[in-house]
Assembly symmetry: C2
Homo-oligomer: 206 residues x 2
Amino acid sequence: MNPQKIPDIIIGRLPVYLRSLQHMAEKGISTTSSKELGESVGISAAQIRKDISQFGEFGKQGTGYSIHFLIKKLNEILKVDRVWDVALVGAGDIGHALAHYQGFFNCGFKITMVFDNDPAKIGEQIGDFEIFDAANMVEIIQTTGIKVAMLTVPASEAQAVADKLVESGIKAILNYAPISLNAPPDVHVQHIDPVVHLQRMTYYLD
Amino acid sequence: MNPQKIPDIIIGRLPVYLRSLQHMAEKGISTTSSKELGESVGISAAQIRKDISQFGEFGKQGTGYSIHFLIKKLNEILKVDRVWDVALVGAGDIGHALAHYQGFFNCGFKITMVFDNDPAKIGEQIGDFEIFDAANMVEIIQTTGIKVAMLTVPASEAQAVADKLVESGIKAILNYAPISLNAPPDVHVQHIDPVVHLQRMTYYLD
């Protein structure tokens, strides 16, 4: 299985399938069909079968998918059968929300450190964490070998901080600042931008 | 132009193109190519040409796209050539972050009211807004005719609040709670879920 060969658009749909399957599992459901899964995520059954079949034969004609088995396989494929330590950079409103966010549990991620450059915040507690001085960020991340970061600093600072994260050895950045970040090809960047989601919906409104 | 005929996956990419074009415009750039735009958003030039051509002939062979013209057209297509009033429900950390978010400016959205059910928060100020009692939400939204809402309440309350938003006449819900919401077919729901974005990146990590 060569990661290069699977289009990124398919990879992007797998976490959505996984989330829906986990909700089904929480409700005590043990099997599902591509039709049922498709209806829950708004994607056609044919597309779901095609996407999942890229990775092997995980379903059976007539009986559908074992939810437990498919969750296990998707966790392996997405490499969240382990827990990734995450550095949170920026202890503002969004940083606080993420530090308290319940949705990371059991999904492969755990915030393990928080940085800010505001002297009034450094040394304070945010959830279970002491806020560290961003001036020490590169050294601390290099020492711990953390690969994943969430960036919740103001837009004006985001690129400079992202450059430091790259220097630290971070390979995946989830960016909440409303700007596009430049990063080397081996560093993955995803944006959380409410505007993109809102505009996708207004298209359909009168 | 019939909205039913354009696949939703294409609609979902248009706001990403628009954001990138706006960044180019802010830098004073006046024309771009599908290649350049594609590199900035991580999508192939061919896909971008195909997506945009669904709506008309907006580029010229050899000279590319006028950024100003393409922004204007995308604004029209996505119906953000106007400003949509937005109701924010939930005045917690994420609610505070959204109330102060600078990224909505010039993108078609303006938060105009905030609701919460916490007696300690009702009547307080959040940014420019007084927090209203969620008990009055249905009536207020019906009266004002607002169609777009952002939902930042705890997961345990999200479905019940979403049901009330639907009752209020809301047609587009941006959901920050880590659960899938059920809504009628004429109500559009988008999820903001950091886990989905993080898992899309860990696939590529060692």
